[in-house]
Symmetry: C2
Subunit: 552 residues, 2 copies
C-alpha cells in the first residue's frame, strides 16, 4: 500500500471519547432509565418483538462495576452504502473489547450481511486494524446490501455464531439494517442463541435521525465534502459570471444533504423535496420558482448562479410520481409489446399513445433526454430507474424553456448558460472529519459497553453532539423504541421511521427565512476543504443542521 501523507498523519490521530468512556472499564456502570414503547403502533410492534419490546433506556455513568470479566467474541458487519467513519466504529469497538480483556476477539464478516450467513470473515489484529484508523471507506471488511430478513438467514447466522462462539453481533447500517438488527436480536433471544445484537446508526443521507439519534455518522463528512465543492463552484460562478450551475446531491429519500449544504454555502436556490411534495408543486411551478431567481439576478446584471437539487426530487413531485407509477403499470401490462420495439424513439411514441392525458401532459414537457431515461433503463423488477433520471438536467431545461417564454414576453433580458454536476460518490469515502472520527470511534467503543452490559436489540447512542466530545453522553436505546408499522411492497412491516426534513424544524425555517435574499443577491459562503488540524473553530465544528436543531 502506498499511503498519502495525510493518511500517514491520520493514523496518529487519537479520537476523542465522551468523558465517561475514558474511565477504566470497572468504573463505568450501565444505569437503566425509563422503559420504552415504540414510535407508533405499539401493540403491533410489541406482538412482533415479544422478547425485546419495552426495554429500558441505558446510560453509562461513573460507578463501581464488579461484574465478572468474561471472554467476548464479537462479530461486526458493515451494511449498505459507504459512509465516512465506518472504520472508526470498528476500531472503537476493537479497542474497547481489547481493553476489557486482551483475549476478546473481533471477527469481521466480509462484504456485508451476507458475510455472516455465508461465514466469510476475518479476525482482527492490531496490525490489520491500524491500517484503517481514521480513514474513509468500508474496505476494512467491505459492505453489501443483502438484507437479513428470512428465517433461513437467521438460522444460518445462529449456526455461524455458534461455530465461532460469537456472543454478540454489531451491525453498522442505516434504517433498514438497524430494523433487521432488531429482528435478528428478537430471533436470537426467542431462540436462546446467546447472541446479543447491537446497531450503529450510519448513513450520509441523514434520514436516520430521531430523539435518540441526533445524527447518523458520515453525514457530517459527506456534507462537508459536498459543501467544499459547492463553495468552490460558487466562487467560480462569481468569478466567471457566466454560468448557472445545477448541482444534484445524493440523498433520494430525504433532502437533509441538500439542506445542510445550502446552510453551509448559501446558494441562490435549493430545492427541498419535502416542501415540494407538501405544496404539491408541479414541474412548471418548480421551473417558475428557479427562473424567478434567474430573472431577478439578470436584472441586476448577474447572469450566473448556483442551484442545489436533491437526488430524489422527481419522486416528490406529485405529477411525476403519478407519471412514473403509470409508466410502471404500462410496462407491467404491456411489457412484451414494449420490449419488442427496437428504437428508443418508437418506444417514446408507444408511451405517448398509452399514457393518460394527464400523465402525457407531464411526459411531453420533459426534455427528450429525460423521456428516454425514464423508459430506457429499468430495474430488475422492470420499473423506471428513478436514480438514473438526471434531475439536474431536467430542472435546467425546464428553466431554460421558461426563460425563453419570458424573453418573448419581454420579461427577461439575460443570458442563460447551464452547467451540471452530481455529487455523491465523492463524499461517501472521504477521510472522516474530526467530528465523525470521534463520533464513530465513540459509537463503536460504546457498542462494546452495551454488549458488556448484556444489552440486545439496542442502538449505540452518543448524544449532546453539538457540544465538545468531553460533554457527550453515552448509552443505548432499544431499537423498537424508534419503530412503527409501514406498508412496504404490499406488506405491513415494522420499520424505523425515516426522518424527512421537517418543514417546521429549525434548520428548514432558518433556510426559508433567508433564501429570498440568497435567491437575488450573491451571499455565497465558501467552506473550503475539511481540515483535520489547526484551529478548533475550523476543525471540530459539526453540521449547521445539528447546531440549529440544538439551539434554543
Amino acid at each position: 500500500m502506498n499511503h498519502s501523507p495525510l493518511q500517514t498523519a491520520r493514523y496518529s490521530y487519537e479520537p476523542k471519547l465522551p468523558m465517561i468512556l475514558r474511565s477504566a472499564m470497572n468504573e463505568i456502570i450501565a444505569v437503566e432509565g425509563q422503559a420504552t414503547t415504540s414510535a407508533a403502533d405499539q401493540d403491533k410492534i410489541k406482538a412482533l418483538f415479544p422478547n425485546t419490546f419495552g426495554q429500558k433506556e441505558i446510560s453509562f455513568q461513573k460507578g463501581e462495576n464488579n461484574a465478572e470479566v468474561k471472554k467476548n467474541v464479537v462479530g461486526v458487519i458493515l451494511s449498505g452504502g459507504q459512509a465516512p467513519g465506518g472504520h472508526n466504529v470498528v476500531s472503537g469497538l476493537y479497542d474497547a473489547l481489547k481493553k476489557a480483556n486482551p483475549e476478546n476477539q473481533l471477527i469481521g464478516f466480509l462484504g456485508g450481511p451476507s458475510g455472516l450467513t455465508d461465514d466469510k470473515y476475518l479476525t482482527f489484529t492490531d496490525e490489520y486494524i491500524n491500517e484503517f484508523r481514521n480513514t474513509g471507506g468500508f474496505d476494512i471488511i467491505g459492505s453489501g446490501r443483502t438484507k437479513l430478513e428470512t428465517k433461513e438467514q437467521f438460522q444460518k447466522a445462529a449456526e455461524v455464531c455458534k461455530k465461532h462462539n460469537i456472543n454478540a453481533i454489531v451491525i453498522i447500517g442505516g434504517d433498514d439494517s438497524n430494523t433487521n438488527a432488531a429482528v435478528l436480536a428478537e430471533y436470537f433471544k426467542a431462540n436462546n442463541c446467546g447472541v446479543q445484537v447491537i446497531g450503529c446508526p450510519k448513513t450520509i443521507d441523514g434520514d436516520l435521525k430521531n430523539d435518540d439519534i441526533e445524527i447518523s455518522f458520515g453525514f457530517d463528512t459527506a456534507t462537508k465534502t459536498f459543501a467544499e465543492l459547492i463553495g468552490n463552484i460558487e466562487r467560480d460562478a462569481n468569478s466567471a459570471k457566466k454560468y448557472w450551475h445545477f448541482i444534484k446531491l445524493m440523498g433520494r429519500s430525504a433532502s437533509h444533504i441538500a439542506l445542510e449544504c445550502a446552510l453551509e454555502t448559501q446558494p441562490n436556490v435549493c430545492l427541498i423535496s419535502e416542501e415540494i411534495e407538501k405544496n404539491a408543486m408541479s414541474l412548471s411551478q418548480i421551473a417558475d420558482y428557479v427562473a424567478s431567481s434567474v430573472v431577478k439576478r439578470a436584472e441586476k446584471g448577474m447572469n450566473f448562479g448556483v442551484v442545489l437539487i436533491p437526488e430524489g426530487l422527481v419522486e416528490f413531485v406529485p405529477e411525476v410520481k403519478s407519471l412514473i407509477a403509470e409508466i410502471n403499470d404500462i410496462l407491467a401490462a404491456k411489457g412484451d409489446e414494449f420490449n419488442a420495439i427496437e428504437s428508443i424513439k418508437d418506444k417514446i411514441v408507444f408511451m405517448n399513445k398509452n399514457l393518460s392525458a394527464e400523465s402525457l401532459s407531464v411526459y411531453s414537457i420533459l426534455p427528450e433526454g429525460i423521456q428516454e431515461q425514464m423508459i430506457a433503463d429499468r430495474d430488475p423488477h422492470g420499473n423506471v430507474q428513478v436514480s438514473k433520471i438526471e434531475s439536474e438536467k431536467l430542472v435546467s431545461s425546464l428553466v431554460e424553456a421558461r426563460l425563453k417564454e419570458l424573453k418573448k414576453e419581454g420579461k427577461y433580458d439575460g443570458k442563460f448558460n447551464a452547467l451540471h454536476h452530481f455529487f455523491g460518490y465523492e463524499g461517501r469515502c472521504a477521510f472522516p472529519s474530526n467530528f465523525d472520527s470521534d463520533y464513530c470511534y465513540s459509537l463503536g467503543y460504546n457498542a462494546f459497553m452495551l454488549i458488556q452490559a448484556g444489552c440486545t436489540g439496542y442502538l449505540s447512542s452518543i448524544r449532546n453532539l453539538s457540544k465538545p466530545a468531553t460533554e457527550w453522553k453515552a448509552g443505548g436505546m432499544p431499537i423498537t423504541k424508534m419503530m412503527n408499522i409501514e406498508r412496504r411492497h404490499g406488506e405491513d412491516k415494522p420499520v424505523i421511521k425515516k426522518a424527512l426534513v421537517e418543514l417546521d424544524g429549525k434548520p428548514f425555517k432558518y433556510f426559508a427565512e433567508n433564501r429570498d435574499v440568497w435567491a437575488v443577491d450573491t451571499c455565497y459562503t465558501f467552506p473550503g476543504a475539511i481540515q483535520y488540524y489547526g484551529p478548533e473553530s475550523v476543525c471540530d465544528l459539526t453540521t449547521v443542521t445539528l447546531k440549529l436543531e440544538q439551539s434554543n
Copy 2:
C-alpha cells in the same frame, strides 16, 4: 459577506516569501544575467519585438540599492479561466508596492483585459484587499477572455494608462495572455508610452511550463482538489466493489492534470492524450487497452476500477480529429441544408450520407449520444464543440461494447457497471494550497520588484520550487525567450510554446513504469482534502510532477 470558519482562519495566514524578498527593498538589487534569445524562430521573433527581444535574465540578490524611490501607479488584470491563488498574486503585488512607498497605488481592471480598454477599474485599499487574502477565485476584480491583440486596443490601453498615470501593468494569465503581454510591452516601448508590462504564469492546466517556469500557479491546488475526489471515489470503488468509475478531468490542450492526478492516486487506468497521439491510437485500440484492465481485474474477482480521462482526449485521437475536421468542413459547405433539417436523428442521417467512408466508420462506432453531441451544439464559428463531447461516456461505452464481444468469445466473465464524473469547476476556485498561497504571493511581490527594476516584457519568475520557500529564487525572464512562431488560424503568430506532457520526461516515465501493476492490482492512494494546517509533510508538499521533474 458570511465567512466560513476556514475563510476567517485563512485571512491570518502569512504567505512565505523567498528569503531574498524578505529583505528591505533597499537591500535587494536586480542582477542581470545572460542575454536571451527565443525558443525558436529567432529572426522572426526578433523582427516582431525589436525593442524587447534579447533582454537579459534578471535575478534578485542581496545588495545595496540606492535607486530613488519613485511613485508607482500599477494596473493589474486577471485574464482567462480561474486558478487558485490569483488573489494572492494581487495581494503580494499590493504589499510590495505599499512597502516600497505608501503613496504607490494599485488599480485593478475589472472583468479581464477588457477592463483596461474600457477603463473599468477599482483602486485597491487595505480594507478591500484583506477580504481576499489566501482565498480562491478571481472575484477580487473578475476575469475575462478578451484578447489584447489589435492596435486599437493597444492605443486605448495607452490612453487609459496615461489618464491614471499608470507606469506598469501586471497581467496574470496563461500562455496566450502572456504572449499578449509581450506584444503590449513591445507596443508601449516602441511608442514611448512609459508603461512597463509584467506577466505572471497562471493556469490550472499546467501547460505554461518551460525551463524558466517550473509550474504555473493553480495547478497544485486544482490537481490536489481533483486528486482528493478521485481518491475518495477509489476508496468507494474498493469498498462497494461493483462500479467502474470513468472520470474526465479538465485540461484540453495537455494531459498534465490527468498525469498528476494519476501519480497522486494510482488509478487502474489513466489515458494520456499525448501518448495516444504519438502512437496514433484508434478508438478501438483505446477501448481494447481499457478493457484489458477490466478483464484482468475481473479474473481476480475485482469488477471495479477507476479510469482517468483528460478532457481533450478526442482531439488527440487521429481518426477522431479527422472526423471532426470533416464534420466542420461539411457544416461549412452545406450548413444551410444541415440547419434546415429539424430532428437530430435526421441530421445524423445527413451526416452519415456526407462523410467519407473512413470517417463514417469512426462516426458509426460512436454511441448515439456522442453522435448527437458532435453535431448538436456548435460554437459561434459553426464548428463542433469539442468541449461538449462527454468523452468519459464515449470511452466507457466503447469499453462496454468490447467487453460484450469478449464475453461472447468466452474471454471475459465479469460484471461491468460504469459511473461517470467530470471534475473541473470544482478545483479552479478552491482556497489555494499553502504552496499556491506562497508561490502566488511571491509572484505578485516579485512582479513589483521587476517593475521597480525597470523591466518590461518580463515574466515574474520564482524558481527552485520543490525546495522550501526560503530557498526559492526570485527574478524575471523576458517573455520573448519562451516564444516561437506557430500557425494559428492561418497566420504565423509569435506565441509562447505550449508545454505538452513529455513522453520522455520523468513524470510520464514513472507513470509508465508503474501503470501495468496499477491496471491489474488495487494500488489506490487516497490523498484526502487539502490541508492548510498541521504537519509540513501534509501541508507544504507541491505536486508529484514537480518533485519528479526536479529529482536527480
